[in-house]
Symmetry: C2
Subunit: 342 residues, 2 copies
C-alpha cells in the first residue's frame, strides 16, 4: 500500500474533472481548502447558480484518526482501536436543466494501521485467500489485507487497507440511450479486471442506492464497490484509477446532449420533487455521508451532495402515461441496461 | 396502563387540533386512513399549498408488532423479543409566511407486552425505584415499569410502558415575545407535575433538537420527554394530556401575530434555506422518523414533517447585523427564555 501514490492520483483526478466541467459550464469552480482539528483536511471545489450546474462539488479529502468512528467500526469491531487514514474524491453534480441527470462519483481509499493494542489474528485474511482474484470477492467478505510485497501476512503488524467507489446516474427524465451509454462506460472501466466485475458491481450499486422506505431505486444505477483489497494493492489501485478515469467519458456526452434542451416550469417542478429522493437517500442511508458527519468532516463539503432547490409534496404521483410517470415504470426498475449478454 | 383510554385521548386531540387549524387557515385538511400490513395503521390529516399553511400534517398512528425494530431495541436489547403497541399524535406545521415559525408537537405511548420468551428480571425496575416521583427521573434511566394497580412488579409478566412527547418551535425570524410565550405555555403545561419538570424537559429538548454536524440548535426549543413511567400510569397520562392540551395555546397566538406580516422574496429565500436544517435534523437524527421508517410506517405520513420548498447553498452566512444573522446570534443559543427564576 502506498498512501502517497493514491493521494497524488486523487488530487490529479479532482483537478482534471474540475477543469473539464468548468470548461463546459464556462464558470470557474470556487476552491476552499479546509483542515480538520483531529487531523487532515481537504479541498472543496464548488460551483453554484451557474449556467449548466445549479449546484455541484468535486471534493478531495484526506482525514485521519486514532480510532474508528462508529459508522465504520460497526462492521469491523476488531478495528476500533486502530489509527487510520481515509482519502477520496467525491463528486455530485446537479445540473439546472431537468433533462440532464444528476451524477455521483466517488473513489476512496482506507488504511487501518498496525497498532499495538489492536487486531486479533483472525481479522487478517489468510494468505491463500489473499491470492484469490479480486473478481471473486463478494461483498459479504468485508475485511482483510494483502499486498504482494508483504511477507508478514497474518501478523498483527499487518496494515489493513481497502478501496471503494463507483458512479451512478439519477435522471429526472429517462433516456434509454443515456442509461446504456453510462453503463457501457462503466463496463469498459472494469473490463480489464474480469468479465464478471461489471455485473457484480452493477448489482451492488442497485442494492446500495435503494430507498427502502420508498421501495424505489435512487436512479438508473451504475457501479459500486467497497472493501476491495484482492488480489493485491497494484491491481486494486489500477481498478480504482480506471473507474476515476472513465467518469468524464461516462457523464459528459449525456450532459452535452441534455444541457440545452428546452424546458418549462413543469419540468423544473418535477426535478425539484424528485430531488427530494436524493436528499432522503443521502441523509438516511448513505454510509459516506454518515461517516463524514460522524468523523468530524466538514459539513458544508459533505452536504454539497444536497440539491439546490427541493420540494416535498404529499402522496403525489405523476399523471399516468406522462413522461414523468415513465421514469418510474421504465427506468427506476433496476434494469440490466446492457442486456443479458453484458 | 390502558391502551383504549390513551387511544381515545389521542384521536380526540388530533380532531381538536385539526379543527382549530382548519378554522384559522380557512381550508379543510385532507384525511387519509391507512393500514400497515404487519398490524395497525393510522389517520393522516394533511394540508398543503394553502393560505396560512404551505404544508402541514397532524397524524395519528397506532402500530403494533411482534418484536421491536432496531432503532427501539438498540437501547433496550432485553425487549427485542416482546410484542408491542406504539401510538401517538405527531404534527409539524410549515406556515407560508416566513415570519411565522414552524412548529412540532408529539405525544406518544409505548407498551411492550409480557411475552413468554422475553424480558430478564433485571430489565424490570425494582418497586422502590418505581415509587420515586416522575420529576426525579433522568433520561439516563431508560426503562422500567410501574403501575400503582400492579402487584406483580418485578415479575416477567409485567408490561413495560412509557410516555414521551413534547413540542418545540423553529422560527426563521426571531421574536423574543414569541419565544417567551411558547416557553411560558410549556411551563404551564408541566406546572402541576412539579416545579423542576419544565427546566428538565426544556434542557432535554435543547439537547435532543441539536444538529451536531452544524453545532446548532434546531430552533428555540420547548420541551421534550421520553421513557416517562413514574410515579404511575395515571400521573404520566395526565402529564401527556396536559402537554397535548396546551399545544394550541402555545402556538396559535404566535401564528396569529405573524401569519399576515408582509414579506418579500428575500424572507422567503431565507426561510427555504433554513428549512434545510429541518430536513437535516429529521432525516439524520430524529428517532421518531427512523423508528417510523424502520418499522414499516407510512413513508408519506412520516415525511410530512419535511418542508414544501427547501434550498441548500454552500457555506452561506447572512450579512452581519441583518435580521437573518440575529437568528443565530440571539435565538439559536439554547437560551433560558423565562429567566433564571423560571
Amino acid at each position: 500500500m502506498d498512501l502517497t501514490a493514491v493521494k497524488n492520483y486523487l488530487t490529479d483526478l479532482q483537478q482534471r474533472i474540475v477543469a473539464r466541467l468548468a470548461a463546459i459550464d464556462g464558470k470557474a469552480f470556487r476552491s476552499d481548502s479546509w483542515q480538520r482539528p483531529e487531523g487532515g483536511g481537504g479541498e472543496s471545489r464548488v460551483i453554484e447558480e451557474s449556467g449548466v450546474f445549479e449546484r455541484g462539488g468535486v471534493n478531495f479529502s484526506h482525514v485521519m484518526g486514532k480510532s474508528l468512528p462508529p459508522s465504520a467500526a460497526v462492521s469491523r469491531p476488531e478495528l476500533a482501536a486502530r489509527s487510520w487514514d481515509a482519502m477520496g474524491v467525491s463528486l455530485v453534480l446537479h445540473p439546472r436543466n431537468p433533462y440532464a441527470p444528476t451524477v455521483h462519483m466517488n473513489v476512496r481509499y482506507f488504511v487501518a494501521h498496525p497498532n499495538s493494542r489492536s487486531v486479533p489474528v483472525a481479522a487478517v485474511k489468510p494468505r491463500h485467500e489473499a491470492k484469490q482474484t479480486a473478481m471473486r470477492r463478494t461483498k459479504a467478505r468485508r475485511r482483510g489485507a494483502g499486498d504482494e510485497g508483504d511477507k508478514a501476512a497474518g501478523s498483527q503488524a499487518q496494515p489493513l487497507w481497502w478501496f471503494g467507489g463507483g458512479m451512478d446516474l439519477t435522471p429526472y427524465y429517462g433516456y434509454e440511450e443515456d442509461a446504456v451509454h453510462f453503463h457501457r462506460i462503466c463496463r469498459d472501466a472494469l473490463a480489464p479486471f474480469g468479465a464478471d466485475c461489471y455485473p457484480r458491481y452493477k448489482k451492488w450499486c442497485d442494492e446500495y442506492f435503494y430507498l427502502k422506505h420508498r421501495q424505489e431505486p435512487r436512479g438508473i444505477g451504475g457501479i459500486f464497490f467497497d472493501d476491495l483489497n484482492t488480489p493485491d494493492f497494484k491491481t486494486c489501485f489500477a481498478l480504482q484509477k480506471s473507474v476515476g478515469d472513465h467518469f468524464l467519458d461516462a457523464y459528459v456526452p449525456i450532459l452535452e446532449r441534455r444541457k440545452n434542451m428546452r424546458y418549462t416550469e413543469r419540468e423544473r417542478d418535477w426535478q425539484a420533487y424528485r430531488r427530494g429522493r436524493y436528499v432522503e437517500f443521502n441523509l438516511v442511508y448513505d454510509r459516506g455521508t454518515l461517516f463524514g458527519l460522524q468523523s468530524g468532516g466538514r459539513a458544508e463539503a459533505i452536504l454539497m451532495s444536497l440539491p439546490p432547490v427541493v420540494k416535498w409534496r404529499y402522496d403525489w404521483q405523476p399523471a399516468p402515461g406522462s413522461a414523468e410517470a415513465k421514469l418510474y415504470s421504465d427506468f427506476l426498475i433496476g434494469k440490466n441496461w446492457l442486456g443479458t449478454a453484458s
